[in-house]
Amino acid sequence: MFDALSQRLDKITSGLKNRGRISEKDLEDALAEIRAALLDADVELGVVRGFLDGVRARCAGEALSKSLTPGQQVVKAVNDELIEILGGEPLKITYASRPPTVILLAGLQGAGKTTAAAKLALWFKSQGRSPLLVAADLQRPAAVEQLRVLGGQAGVPVFTRATDPVDVAAAGVEEAARVGRDVCIIDTAGRLSIDDALMDEVRRISARTDPHYTFLVIDAMTGQDAVGTARRFHDALDLDGVIVTKLDGDARGGVALSVRTVVGKPIVFASVGERLADLDLFYPDRMAGRILGMGDVLTLIEQAERSMDADVVSSTAQRMMGGEFTLDDFLAQLAQVRKMGSFGGLMRLMPGMNKQMREAAEQIDDKEVDRVEAIVRSMTRAERADPTIIDGSRRLRIASGSGTTVVQVNQLLRQFKDMQKMMRGMASGSMPGMPGMPGMGKMSAKMARAAAKRLPAGDVPPELAGLMGAPESPAPGIGGTARTAAPRPGGKKKKGGRVTPPKHR
């Protein structure tokens, strides 16, 4: 769990082993590391301080756990604290007794309000409501047109007028009532929270339309500025919730913690893509993991689900489970995985990377991945099927064909051989590590556990079970709960052997 961070903390807290409790000094050292991690994640400085106080209180005088290292224990406390703050009371949308239910969206320029408005409209539609979109952004060129097009895609009508934003908003609400639409979503222009005139304008919009819900729309990549902005919008509009956008990016998203802490209102939705369907409910445990830099496995899984070609993947995976994995398979899978995102970005979403791998991951150049691919492509079919036939002259040929050196070809072949060995090990249920890549076993185990959490309880296939039994202290799984018990290897498969596949958007 949180490998990079816990390893750093373990070094600091290693002195704890002889003592029964976490001492103040060791805790402070650990908290300094956490401070750095949170700041790197864009959590606001003041919020970080307050947060660490909370963690301090949680850890104070705690006895050392029998199953966790001290570093892991501190990180667990941090994770729990994060989830508690980010979670808290979720917002449950209740509809007005006299429709329409009015929803007002506000925020800075470029946050994603217009897209969010259309997504919300689609979401309400899926809840059986009949929403109306109101285009009250008369400031940005073609903003109205943008909402019109998106509304068309969502199958939701869009209302506007060429007057002024306050008038349009009010008229929009009236129109919704008149034609019987029971939800009215008002998109407004982006505005600086320090622009008095525009803040006054949005206050007037709020006064005239009396929204049932006012949401701040904020970009997941926002830095320290988030808090001041959120506070000023909250002061002006009395927010009910926050929508965090562009979570399909790789920003750590500390803004979520900052805004949640300072505004005290829940994060209602997470916008996770450019398509209208890409609106999720907000998952505090995922956000916690992401902020702490331990990756966001579940989002990774969903991204993969969306972009990978299931047939290609599953046929190869079947063979893999049978202990076969050829260079052809490798090539095919590489193509699939590259669809998911740039390597650097993808690595960041993966959990359990130790410091060495993480640093390497940060530096990964897609060109290098191209090189690896080129080497494999320069081989003949026969060579890919059976790399043992690749002798010196073949290596030379492959090297010149791919623009690399024989040394590099050798290294690739060696790595691949190790990988095949590991795959066979996985298939037989054990978990050998890969030389030169410590932590691989742990990482696979973590991801396997995460995947298992997504399956209906009790449905964990035996192959996965083998993976999950990786040798490691039983730290709580990703998400901070220990709900998923490790299944016994060789457990019963469900009758029919099928598991309900996750929903595809």
Partner: protein, 378 residues
């Protein structure tokens, strides 16, 4: 076994195996520069005499403060006050740092104040640590200077930012059409920036053509069209969903046939962790770099409110298409945009332009001195 779990396992294996392979391969090769990225993008070695007009004038506001006789290396003709007053909102942050001016020793308190100020400005932990280290070294060498802590900090920041950036290149080789490609994540202000630049070029009597190569976003071309109309310049667009490369291609040929020397190409906002979108962008750049066009600038537009993710954006976009400079937008807000210090330090990518509002005139050339002075409230 469910498909979901199967591919997950394969994904892990492949991802990690490739990472491992790449790490091993890398350790055996020497560092190389990205291919071709810098070759075509250097501004002309001897800036043409009309260099000041190639830079962005502060449109109607500032008088032409740099007469043409001034050395081309001169910084933007914008008056420092212009940038400083625009960044006024940022001053209060550094009030406490300003107060350190009189202090000539660098104790714990001073260090904490400086650290807090830098972190709050999104400078990030790594670059902040480096700056503090440099300050401590200066203090140890008794070299803090007459202006005490504040002065030393100012000096460090300026050193980090480096010299004022070169003016944007406006000419390509051998009569090819020069192309400025605008890239960045969603919502940062690419289209608005192009609109402002078009207005500035038009105001100076320079012909420019806009290429609406954002074919993804609803009404993106409409948005750019409105700017083109305001600036009175030509626009090439296509239907939504069309190939962005095709738009650029058409734009280049239209520009060539009408003897328009410069094309400003808008692209769709895209998150840098989406491989397919970066591939698309690479393709757009290739098209833009083919006769009759030549890419002379690739400008990454960065929102000043962005936190540490800006570093990743700069890295990924640069790897993909070779970024020649940053346009830092929305600096008229409360965000300080300090992350550009980290980008400069870690990646060597300079800020070229600064956006300070939504109107056509709200775009200024980046002046590091004015930027740091405004931040430190001088």
């Amino acid at each position: 076994m469910s498909a979901a779990v199967l591919w997950l396992l394969v994904a892990i294996v492949v991802l990690v195996a490739v990472a491992g392979t790449v790490v091993v391969l890398r350790s055996r090769r020497s560092r190389e520069l990205p291919q071709g990225a810098t070759r075509t993008l250097e501004p002309p070695a001897a800036p043409p005499p009309e260099a000041p007009s190639a830079e962005l004038a502060a449109a109607t506001e500032a008088p032409a403060a740099a007469p043409p006789a001034e050395a081309p290396a001169a910084v933007a003709p914008v008056e420092p006050a212009g940038l400083a007053t625009r960044l006024g909102a940022a001053r209060s942050l550094f009030d406490r740092v300003r107060g350190l001016r009189g202090r000539t020793s660098l104790g714990r308190e001073e260090l904490d104040e400086v650290e807090e100020a830098l972190l709050r400005a999104d400078v990030g932990t790594a670059t902040t640590a480096a700056i503090l280290e440099a300050l401590e070294a200066a203090a140890a060498a008794k070299a803090l200077g007459d202006d005490g802590v504040t002065g030393a900090l100012r000096k460090e920041l300026l050193e980090l930012l480096g010299p004022p950036p070169a003016a944007l290149a406006t000419t390509a080789e051998q009569g090819r059409v020069a192309v400025w490609l605008f890239v960045g994540v969603n919502g940062v202000g690419k289209t608005t920036t192009i609109g402002k630049l078009a207005a500035a070029q038009a105001a100076e009597g320079h012909d420019v053509l806009l290429a609406a190569a954002d074919t993804f976003r609803a009404a993106a071309a409409d948005q750019l069209a409105m700017w083109a109309e305001r600036a009175g310049c030509d626009l090439v667009r296509a239907d939504e969903g069309a190939d962005p490369g095709a738009v650029v291609h058409d734009a280049l040929h239209r520009a060539a046939s009408r003897s328009i020397p410069l094309v400003l190409a808008d692209t769709a906002g895209r998150l840098h962790n989406k491989a397919n979108l970066l591939e698309e962008l690479k393709k757009v750049r290739r098209v833009a770099d083919r006769e009759p066009g030549q890419v002379v600038e690739v400008l990454l537009v960065v929102d000043a409110t962005t936190g540490q993710n800006a570093i990743t954006q700069a890295r990924e976009f640069s790897q993909a298409v070779g970024v020649t400079g940053i346009v830092l937008t929305k600096l008229d807000g409360t965000a300080r945009g300090g992350v550009v210090l980290a980008v400069q330090r870690e990646l060597g990518i300079p800020v070229r332009l600064v956006g300070v509002g939504e109107q056509a005139a709200d775009l200024l050339a980046f002046d590091p001195v004015a930027f740091v002075d405004a931040l430190l409230g001088d």
